[in-house]
């Protein structure tokens, strides 16, 4: 009976879409009679209206509680869908876009407050924000922007979020710009699971977007060099934008350019003034701009210092060479030979060392050793000017520095007790009186005497028809007496050479000197000839005596004189005028002279065609006042030589890894004073300096790189065959300046790879280094820019993709909230509890009863 009664109640209630989940709760109604019975006691206390009201309220309270206890619910068939809103929180969603999404969410939540609605945000990964149990939906405007968009991952994630027995609908709030994943593919899977995707394109405001596409420049240059910077600019519509370039924060260029759908290419020039790794930034200013993040790019450039040159002079003073080098693109350090670098490392810091007219013969073995190491092992360049101060290089002792130089100085290197004996055999025939030839000759002899070493032995024999021993063999220290005797002589008659030679031979035979030399000068035809008297010369030759002959003028018997010289191992000179005689005497007597320099006017001429001498007119060069006599070494290269004797004035050679250039004269001293004013001076020394600077062959180490997502893939190429003690090293400098070493992996002959993740926006600098030679380090440099979030590189929403998602899953593009919550095909029975209002009514009734009791 009870069940029938309950059934009838249920049926009755069903007509009102109600149901009792626990009908047993109605048993509480059975307590009402008990309450009434107990309430009969009230008639003694309360008047009947009050008593009736109290009873009524108490009964109502019990009925209400019984009904509540029976757990009445409202039944309804509910076909409302379960809706998950996927909100794109990537960086491409601007603030207005987020506000629009919030507005939409507000409409959705207000539309169906009791419906099943969940909110999931996504960027590169999905994140649960709020669900049906949540009391409120968070503001999307306040969610942090994420770098990357993976709609596919977000779609996949939603699979776990839908409740059973609901039609499943996804609402996608996005601009469609995905950087990862394939949303269409996931949509296919969603369709298979019966999930509909309703995309709501959040189109970017139809705002202008300009983008700085590329920034290109050379990665390495020297300070003061000018490089070209190329910038590519793009915009979604044609408009003027301001393009600026900054180097280390300082603006170096500012230009208004037209940007449009065709990329515009703009070039700038840049001349860095600082050394180091510098930041070059190009940026666009345009307002409004949809994505300011893509308006700039940065590159790091490596600016090397200028080549370092050390100029060592005897005193700190401004000189033409110092001024010349200072005004060029070199970093010049001037010092004196008293303040030389003390360690090899200090030497190695220079790319070129110039030693300008220093007493090099006095340099110690230690000093020379460091200089040698600098050139030989570290490839440094050395430019030496050996002027008057360096004369001792041509002295009797070999200087420590001489092996470093491309010439050797042909002086007698050993002192002898009686070094040499020299006899002048001079023609005093009548023809010598013409044009004061005899006088000039005597003066030349007198000058030669002045240069002779004190312990050299000298004799003078004059001849005409007969010889006369004017000065017997005596030491040159008595030059005054000798000079007086010589200058007091007068011209004579005919010409007969051989008796004079015999006399000279007799004199030399008395000498113990190892070198015995005769200088024979004549301007005429000798009556005694070689055919009859040649045995004298042959005998002299057997006794180690050499005869140098000088034919003066066209009348001289050149044939005889040549024969004499050839037979004795001497030289033959033809002097067409007296002016040449002093030079000949100088050359012939230099082996006997105290002085090591050849101090006479000489002209320089190129010894060969050379690029370093190109464009310099040596014919217009003034004469030099002297030089150190020398001979070029077999492996050296003769660049300039004296025009008369063809002796080295400028020579160079490779010494170890470096190069040495030697000038046997000074650059700006007494001998070359006039050269400093010659226009070719600057060209010559500038070319020489640049040519001698330390350098390493180009292209031995190359560094290239490319971006693969956020990974930098780097390749180092080392020219195969190079001997290198270890693999190249690689470092990366992040935008915050932190430098980290990167491991490199061998990937072939001379090929290495490295990889690095660029975790933040900005410019990264990569520096590779190779120990090319001992002390020489070769560098390669590269800069890569990690741009802003990838979706900022597309200006428009990918509506086509979003439309495809709707099509694939049988949904609609851009639906209204009403359409989203429209009932679906999946129905379920929903229970809405009705007991809470009944309980609340019970409370009110109870309080009312308490109040009525008190009245």
């Amino acid at each position: 009976m009870w069940s029938e009664w309950i059934d009838s109640i249920q049926n009755f209630l069903a007509g009102y879409e109600l149901k009792l989940l626990w009908p047993a709760g109605l048993w509480l109604l059975s307590t009402i009679p008990v309450f009434w019975l107990i309430g009969l006691r009230l008639h003694r206390q309360l008047p009947w209206p009050q008593r009736s009201l109290v009873q009524l309220l108490r009964t109502g309270l019990l009925v209400t509680m019984a009904l509540a206890l029976a757990q009445p619910v409202r039944l309804r068939q509910d076909a409302s869908p379960a809706v998950i809103v996927l909100a794109d929180l990537s960086a491409s969603m601007s603030a207005p876009a987020r506000a629009e999404m919030d507005k939409f969410m507000g409409r959705m939540a207000g539309m169906n407050p009791e419906g099943w609605l969940s909110l999931i945000g996504f960027g590169p990964r999905p994140a649960f924000l709020a669900g049906p149990q949540s009391s409120a939906f968070p503001r999307l405007y306040d969610q942090p922007a994420q770098d990357g968009t993976d709609i596919a991952a977000a779609l996949r994630f939603c699979l776990t979020q839908f409740p059973p027995d609901y039609e499943r609908r996804l609402v996608l709030l996005s601009d469609g710009q995905q950087t990862h994943g394939d949303a269409r593919r996931e949509a296919q899977k969603a369709r298979a699971l019966g999930i509909q995707i309703f995309p709501i394109p959040i189109e970017p405001p139809a705002a202008f977007d300009a983008r700085l596409v590329t920034l290109t420049t050379t990665g390495q240059l020297r300070v003061g060099e000018t490089a070209t910077v190329t910038v590519e600019v793009w915009a979604n519509e044609r408009k003027k934008v301001r393009l600026h370039l900054r180097l280390e924060g300082a603006k170096i260029a500012d230009r208004i350019v037209w940007a449009g759908p065709q990329k515009a290419r703009v070039e700038f020039s840049m001349t860095p003034k600082k050394v180091g790794v510098l930041s070059l930034k190009a940026g666009i200013i345009s307002r409004p701009d949809r994505y300011p993040q893509n308006n700039w790019q940065e590159k790091k450039i490596l600016v090397a210092g200028r080549p370092r040159v050390l100029l060592v002079q005897s005193a700190r003073q401004p000189t033409p060479l110092a001024s010349l080098l200072d005004s060029s693109d070199l970093e010049l350090t001037s010092t004196t030979d008293k303040e030389l670098p003390r360690t090899i490392a200090e030497w190695t810091g220079y790319d070129l060392v110039i030693l300008d007219d220093l007493p090099l013969a006095e340099w110690t073995a230690t000093q020379v050793g460091m200089l040698r190491g600098y050139v030989e092992e570290s490839g440094g360049g050395l430019l030496v000017a050996a002027g008057q101060q360096a004369q001792d290089l041509a002295g009797p002792e070999e200087a420590a520095i001489e092996p470093l130089l491309p010439v050797h100085f042909r002086q007698v290197k050993k002192k002898e007790k009686t070094p040499a004996a020299l006899v002048f055999v001079l023609d005093r025939s009548a023809s010598m009186a013409r044009e004061k030839k005899f006088l000039i000759l005597l003066r030349a002899v007198s000058d030669a005497l002045a240069r002779l070493r004190d312990n050299a032995q000298v004799a003078v024999v004059l001849f005409d028809d007969f010889p006369e021993l004017v000065v017997p063999l005596t030491e040159a220290r008595h030059r005054q007496e000798i000079g007086k005797a010589v200058l007091s002589q007068r011209v004579g008659g005919g010409t007969s050479m051989y008796p004079a030679l015999s006399l000279a031979r007799d004199q030399l035979a008395k000498s113990a000197a190892r070198i015995k030399h005769v200088i024979l000068l004549s301007d005429g035809q000798s009556i005694s000839v070689f055919a009859h008297h040649g045995h004298i010369v042959e005998k002299m030759a057997k006794e180690g005596m050499t005869v140098t002959t000088v034919a003066l003028g066209t009348d001289a018997d050149k044939q005889e004189l040549t024969r004499i010289a050839a037979s004795s191992g001497g030289k033959f000179y033809f002097a067409d005028s007296m002016a040449n005689v002093p030079k000949i005497f100088t050359a012939e007597t230099e082996g006997f002279t105290e002085k090591k320099a050849i101090e006479q006017e000489i002209h320089a001429e190129p010894a060969k065609l050379l690029a370093v001498l190109a464009g310099i007119d040596f014919k217009s060069a003034p004469a030099l006042g002297g030089y150190l006599a020398s001979e070029a070494r077999p492996s050296s290269e003769l660049m300039l030589r004296s025009s008369d004797r063809k002796e080295p004035l400028l020579a160079r050679w490779r010494f170890g890894l470096g190069r040495v250039v030697l000038a046997t004269t000074d650059i700006q001293g007494a001998w070359s004073a006039t050269w400093t004013k010659w226009p070719g001076f600057a060209n010559l020394w500038t070319n020489l300096v640049k040519d001698t600077l330390r350098n390493s062959p180009p292209g031995d180490l190359r560094l290239s790189g490319m971006m693969d997502g956020d990974q930098a893939l780097l390749s180092l190429w080392l020219r195969p065959g190079l001997r290198s003690p270890s693999p190249p090293k690689l470092w990366v400098m992040a935008p915050n300046g932190q430098e980290t070493a990167l491991p490199v992996h061998r990937r072939g002959l001379g090929h290495f790879r490295a990889q690095f993740r660029l975790d933040r926006e900005g410019a990264y600098a990569f520096r590779a280094q190779r120990l090319a030679r001992s002390g020489v380090v070769e560098q390669a440099f590269l800069s890569l820019h990690r741009p802003a979030a990838q979706e900022t590189w597309a200006a428009t929403a990918d509506l086509e993709m979003l439309a495809d998602l709707a099509t694939i899953t049988g949904a609609k593009l851009n639906p209204s909230p009403e359409e989203i919550f429209a009932p679906g095909r999946v129905e379920r029975e929903q229970h809405e509890s009705r007991w809470p209002p009944l309980l609340f009514l019970a409370m009110i009734m109870f309080l009312s009863e308490a109040l009525v009791r008190k009245v």
Binding site: G25, T31, F35, I38, G39, R41, L42, R58, L61, L62, M65, L69, R125, A127, F128, Q133, R156, F157, L159, T160, Q161, P164, Q177, Q178, T179, H180, R184, R185, A607, K608, L609, L610, A611, A614, G615, E637, P697, S704, M706, D708, G709, S715, G721, R746, R747, G748, L749, H751, Q790, W793, W835, P836, L839, M843, F846, L847, A850, R853, K854, V855
Partner: protein, 631 residues
């Protein structure tokens, strides 16, 4: 206990308001009671003993108690079950990264992982909810949270290895979100179980989610091919230089056969021995091959079996580069020396023009030009042999000498590198007048015969002698000289090095590829392109060759599996708290704790009990009121 209908604040407000009203009603007395004075002592005697000073206050308290119970009932409180009795909401994350394909005693690691996951699923009860997720590069939910095991088992059976590496951090994030979403109020025990082939260093948990790691499989040694790279051979030699590297990820020395081959040709086959943890590399110089597909394989020393249980990294693929054709014009009259020497190089596309027919337009499209006997000024890199004097020749000739005594070749220039020309004989040669910046490469003590010049970006080389008047063409160095010169003029000659393609990673296709194009692997379905922002990309899903044909253009991609982390089949296998190794048998107890219970998924509502309690108090209240016990 938690309120589900009202918040604690709302409950407090409701109860406070009701209690306040009751108190006010208590304090207000509208009716005065009449007491009969005469018999008052008798009544006091009867009822007075029972009267307490606070009886009316107790009545108020009783009413307040009723109101309290009613308020509580309105809040719909639920008692949380004890941990032992709560059902379990569990996310099972199965590692499907590449290393799970390693064979382990007849089964792959993934198959073992599936067995373990199955054991977990079978322990679940009707109130438990489980979801299956996979972990590789992304975390991918395979099922929603369900109680029904068939759905889970079906999804489990369909799991396949992905040639990707695992990403634990993102997996944890996704799994946590899924668990929170499935049970926001944490009525159940929320548990995350990661089934993989090794343990991960997880960050400390800041929530109530239990994290358990189960590892399957055994530690294995593994050899992998970590590099197969090919580039054009340097020098005038045609062909490719190939670099191969093998790494031993194991703990013991290993031997294997390293085979280099194309689909048709065997190029190299050797037994290699690699120390534990070490690597071995080989360089090969290959002649030009018709077939550009190059493969390297690691095999067992005997037979054709794979060398280890992880086969995916035992093969590598490479696409041999081709030299970009260099268009060279030769302006010479019947100079077979030059023609043949230039044509020797496979990348040179040579066109010969007679000097009498030479016009500047003939150089259109050329990369460089070689002149023999004439010397016009041009704007492209130019090599001049025996230029004549005069005209607009960029080089000026000086005196002619016969049989000069040559100085050694200047070796530190790109043209003369690695060249040796001892005792080169020139019958006659002209000195060339150098300009500032020129480099003298060969000369005598009077001047240069060979000059290299770089002026305003243009490169030139001049030789002041005719080839017929020297023995240079007969030297081995002659073609090398030409090759060096072309390299110096034009730079390295190789197709631009592409980004290497790796399994599972998107590879950006060139701009000329249309969106509808597809890449075809040697076996399997075609791969469509997908957009990556503004560009299109293809994501290879297995190693091998992918080819794309579009109109007349062809693109072939060599895809490799180079994931050092996956090739290392060891990993952390140290058991610890919440970390277990599993080989066989039932699932570990901690992973299955709480599963299969009968506790309800959601705690029972308590409000009916509260209502019944309130009804009882109402009875007492009524009795006391009616019999004036407290009132």
């Amino acid at each position: 206990m938690r309120f589900t209908a009202l918040s604690p604040t709302e409950f407090a407000l409701l109860f406070s308001a009701a209690a306040l009203l009751a108190t006010l009603i208590y304090l207000v007395s509208f009716r005065k009671r009449t007491v009969l004075m005469a018999t008052e002592p008798i009544w006091r005697l009867i009822a007075g003993k029972r009267r307490t000073p606070y009886r009316r206050l107790l009545a108020l308290l009783l009413q307040i108690a009723v109101l309290f119970l009613l308020s509580m009932a309105l809040g719909d409180p639920r008692l949380a079950l004890s941990a032992a009795r709560r059902p379990v909401t569990m996310a099972i994350v199965v590692d499907v990264s590449a290393s799970m394909s390693a064979q382990d005693q007849g089964l792959t690691r993934l198959e073992r992982a599936k067995d373990l996951a199955r054991a977990l699923i079978q322990k679940a009860g009707p109130q438990d909810r489980l979801a299956l997720l996979t972990m590789a590069e992304n975390c991918r939910p395979q099922t929603p949270f369900v109680s029904a095991s068939p759905q889970l088992e079906t999804a489990l059976a369909d799991l396949q290895v992905l040639w990707q590496t695992e990403q634990v951090a993102s997996t944890l994030a996704v799994a946590k979100e899924a668990l929170v979403g499935a049970d926001p109020r944490a009525w159940s025990r929320r548990r995350l179980v990661i089934v993989s082939d090794h343990f991960f260093d997880l960050p400390p948990a800041d929530d109530e989610i239990e994290r358990i790691q189960l590892a399957v499989g055994r530690r294995q040694d593994n050899l992998s091919l970590t590099a197969l790279e090919a580039r054009l051979a340097t020098g005038p030699v045609a062909g490719s230089e190939v670099f191969v590297e093998v790494r031993n990820h194991g703990r013991s020395r290993r031997q294997a056969r390293l085979v280099l081959h194309t689909p048709e040709l065997l190029l190299g086959d050797e037994i290699v021995v690699i120390e534990a943890g070490g690597s071995l590399s080989r360089n090969y110089l290959l002649k030009p091959l018709r077939q550009r597909r190059l493969l390297a394989s690691l095999l067992a020393v005997e037979g054709q079996e794979p060398v280890d249980g992880f086969a995916i990294d035992n093969r590598a693929f490479s696409w041999l580069p081709r030299a970009r054709a260099r268009k060279i014009r030769l302006v010479a009259e019947n100079n077979l020396y030059l023609e043949k020497a230039l044509a020797l190089h496979p990348s040179v596309s040579l066109q010969v023009i007679k000097p009498s027919q030479y016009q500047a337009q003939a150089l259109a499209g050329a990369d460089a030009v070689v002149f023999a006997g004439i010397c016009p000024a041009v704007s492209i890199p130019a090599l001049y042999f025996h230029p004549p004097a005069g005209g607009n020749c960029p080089f000026v000739l000086a005196d002619e000498v016969s049989a000069p005594k040559l100085l050694p070749l200047a070796g530190d220039h790109p043209v003369t590198r690695e060249l040796s020309l001892p005792d080169l004989h020139l019958s006659r040669a002209h000195h060339l007048v150098p300009q500032a910046g020129d480099v003298e490469l060969l000369g005598d003590d009077k001047g240069p015969f060979v000059l290299a010049r770089e002026e305003k970006g243009q490169k030139m080389l001049a030789l002041g002698f005719a080839l017929g008047g020297s023995d240079l063409p007969l030297r081995v160095a002659f073609p090398l000289l030409l090759h060096n010169c072309l390299d110096w003029f034009l730079g390295e000659n190789e197709e631009q090095e592409p980004v290497p393609a790796a399994v599972g990673r998107p590879w950006l296709v060139p701009a000329w590829v249309r969106a509808q194009s597809t890449f075809q692997p040697d076996a399997g379905d075609a791969l469509a392109l997908h957009s990556m922002g503004e560009q299109l990309a293809v994501r290879p899903n297995s190693p091998g060759f992918l080819s794309l044909q579009q109109d007349r253009r062809r693109l072939v991609l060599a895809v490799n599996f180079h994931m050092a982390g996956e090739s290392d089949l060891g990993g952390d296998r140290t058991e610890g708290q919440n970390q277990w190794l599993w080989h066989d048998g039932p699932a570990p107890a901690l992973a299955t704790a709480g599963l299969g219970g009968q506790a309800p998924a959601v705690p029972e509502p308590q409000w009916p009990l509260l209502l019944l309690a309130a009804a009882w108090l109402l009875l007492f209240d009524w009795v006391f009121f009616c019999f004036r016990i407290l009132f």
